[in-house]
């Protein structure tokens, strides 16, 4: 690791930052330095603490510990407005603007020029136009913001942020919904701002873009500071390794691949994707899921892993390619229900939004999918439900006071086990597991991995999406590597090693 020896005085210094939410340590002794006239990238996987860090900086969260200094002076932003007054302006990923209001309104909301208490409209328009001109944009500021493309909206958000004499501009995933040309013009603007001496903190997960624009990089992992690096002298593979907590030279702990598993090649796949994709979501992708095989899907955040599962399970609808079920081509599943009826199951990574029914009991959470699959009229009797719940509570060692406890009272790991039980109870032929071990403790994790292997042994086809590469290596016979919303490699047998995954993920574009 090469600590940076940077010229330029530190604009922002965050040291010893700690923040916990209900006992979960989101940030622990994290640090960050941004220099004047430079672009600094903040990187890390899900749960690394990036968004907590910038929300603390924007005055949305109060810190448990640590200091924030702007040009050497300690600040404690209490609100977004307060942070702006200290020279820190943040543009959040979901673009914190009001799409239905005019561009001028959006730039000047809350600080419109007044005369006798009334807004001076022509002055407003003039100031908005001037603010946009500074970043090289000239549009009709009286039109509603949603009349413009997302790229323009992003620039308007930046113009608003700069209108308050910002010294530090924080951009949270500014490029996630822009196309290449729009990204290029955004970067042009950022370079110009940098020339003018502004400090820019860029949160992103696009490796190529980090290398295209940033001067320095800070990597966080699991709420902790991993290191600060100079972009130019830091190889991609090392960056990926730092984010995932792996050194590129590590020898993989590859499990011995048995002959049975390689023999799986000969079997026709249960489910096959041929060029399946959807514009703006996932580029045409091939994938074969075989019975008795765990297929891994590795990739960084936003690489298209979850999108693949959504397209298979009928949550999203592909606009190109074909799906083969047991070797026969058919139209992609139109809804989760249709996919379920064919023997598919999908355990979502977003436990809270797409998984649990928080106020319903463990038993009800467990039987819902089975009941829905059976149809509403044939109620699974209370006795059967209880038996089913008890069976899985014991089999998966779910820790709960009773089957009637609301699932929201359980720990994350036990919630996850209930959700797994929900899908296992259907005895699916294909099960899609999206980050099944995220946010659960080590013991529970080992149990879930054991469970996945036993599903394979029972003859299920498993698709395992995980950002824990060792987990993938431990459990998968074959894996696909994703980057930038497409599949870039497929590895099998002896190739299934952490180092080869990392190499594939960080390989430079052709």
């Amino acid at each position: 690791m090469a600590p940076t020896s940077q010229s330029g005085c530190a604009l922002l210094e965050m040291r010893g930052i700690a923040k916990a939410f209900r006992g979960v340590q989101a940030l622990d002794d994290a640090q960050l330095t941004v220099r004047r006239g430079s672009i600094h990238a903040l990187m890390g996987e899900n749960g690394a603490g990036k968004s907590t860090l910038i929300k603390a900086l924007a005055g949305i969260y109060a810190l448990d510990a640590g200091s924030i200094r702007v040009e050497g002076i300690i600040v404690r932003p209490q609100s977004p407005r307060d942070a702006e007054a200290q020279g820190i302006s943040t543009v959040f990923q979901e673009i914190n603007l009001i799409p239905t209001l005019s561009v001028a309104d959006n730039i000047l909301l809350g600080r419109q020029p007044l005369r006798w208490g009334f807004i001076r409209q022509s002055e407003c328009h003039r100031r908005a136009e001037a603010a946009l001109k500074r970043i090289g944009l000239s549009i009709d500021v009286r039109k509603a913001l949603n009349q413009y493309s997302l790229a323009v909206q992003q620039l308007v958000a930046i113009a608003r942020a700069l209108d308050v004499d910002a010294r530090l501009l924080v951009l949270d995933e500014p490029t996630s919904s822009l196309d290449e040309r729009e990204v290029a013009s955004l970067f042009e603007v950022l370079r110009e701002l940098k020339r003018r001496g502004l400090g820019i903190l860029l949160v992103t997960h696009f490796l190529d873009q980090v290398y295209a624009i940033s001067d320095t990089i800070t990597v966080l992992r699991n709420g902790r500071w991993v290191g600060e690096f100079e972009t130019a002298s830091f190889p991609r593979a090392h960056l990926v390794g730092a984010m995932l907590g792996r050194e590129i030279h590590d020898t993989p702990s590859a499990a011995p691949k048995t002959a049975v598993e390689t023999a799986g090649e000969a079997k026709p796949p249960l489910l096959e994707l041929r060029g399946l994709g959807k514009a703006g979501m996932l580029r045409a992708m091939d994938l074969r899921l075989r019975a008795g095989e765990v297929h891994g899907l590795a990739g960084l955040l936003g690489s298209g892993r979850t999108e693949t599962a959504h397209l298979i399970f009928g949550v999203a609808h592909p606009d190109s390619g074909a799906l083969l079920w047991r070797g026969v081509e058919r139209s992609p599943f139109g809804s989760p229900r249709e996919a379920m009826r064919h023997g598919l199951a999908f355990c979502s990574e977003d436990r809270k939004a797409e998984g649990i029914l928080p106020r319903l009991s463990v038993r009800e959470n467990l039987v819902l999918a089975m009941q829905a699959n059976r149809g509403g009229l044939r109620l699974i009797s209370r006795k059967e439900q209880a038996a089913l719940a008890d069976h899985y509570i014991q089999a998966l060692k779910i820790k709960t006071p009773s089957a009637e406890t609301p699932i929201q009272n359980l720990s994350g790991g036990n919630q996850q086990k209930v959700l797994l039980a929900r899908w296992l109870s259907l005895s699916p032929q294909v099960i899609l597991l999206d980050e099944p071990t995220r946010g659960i403790d080590v013991g529970a994790k080992a149990e879930v991995e054991k469970l996945i292997r036993s599903l394979r042994d029972q003859g299920m086809a498993v698709l395992l999406i995980s950002s824990d590469l060792e987990e993938i290596v431990r459990t998968c016979e074959r894996l696909s590597v994703m980057r930038d919303r497409r599949k870039i490699a497929e590895l099998s047998g002896a190739e299934v090693q952490v180092s080869s995954i990392l190499r594939a993920m960080s390989r430079h574009d052709e």
Partner: protein, 319 residues
Amino acid sequence: MKAPRSLPLLATSFVFVTLYGVASALYPGFLSLQVFVNLFGDNAFLGVAALGMTLVILAGGIDLSVGAVVAFSTVFIATLVARGAHPLGAMAAAVTAATFFGAFMGWLIQAFEVPAFLVTLGGAFFARGMAFVVNRESVAIAHPFWQKAADFGIPLSPSATLPATALTFLITLGAMMIIAHRTRFGRNVYAVGGGIASARLMGLPVASTRIAVYALSGACSGLAGVVSTLYTGSGDPARAAGLELDAIASVVIGGTLLTGGVGSPAGTLMGVLIFGTIQSALVFDGRLNSWWLRIAMGGLLLLFVLFQRALSRGSALEK
């Protein structure tokens, strides 16, 4: 492509002109200045209440207490005047009481995140009951000042005068337009309705804006009560039943999005005029009954809600 913001207002204006044109062709005498002016005078109390409702809806809320607060205001004023208070003092007292009542409801909505429709529904029960507590019966107002105020009018032509009620409506309209478009508070109202989370991140005073909106709607309801007493010369605890529905319908038909953030007081004027035109046409016709008004308003409401839905779907590409 995405539709411009003015499209709903244009559509509403078109509906109004068409309706008025059809009515003029069908009924002789409909196309006269006085009939047109009467649209303002006869519907002034609906208009004033609807203007208050417009702000609430723009901020993403709803106020179902409007009719009951109007009734309370009318009977409160009439009773005070009957007990010897000066009409001006009685009016001020009614509007002040209504404003505080609105602010209180707004505070419950803001501080405890109770659904707006429930709080204002409770408010409607309360205000209606209190109106009957103040006086069980309709009370006539007899006061020289009152007579003068009710008879006041600005002659527009030899055959048409603009009555005090219409004047109040127009002044309220002007004030609302200035508030909505030319004050920071007004722009904040749009921002809160357009995206409350973003408004918070932008550092706007979300809480005070939401409370103020209900306070203003209360004030408008109080003022609508004043207008109603001017119009009828009495206060009645049973008056204005279901007025909130007409007001909401006028606001939505006027192009204001029920989800908040889009619309204008000027649109609400159009909505009220459409309501008035249908009502006048029914009176002119004589054969059609008053229930057609409700059906027509319901139909227009359905049409405009679907129309808005289609528009917002077109521009919701980012989601």
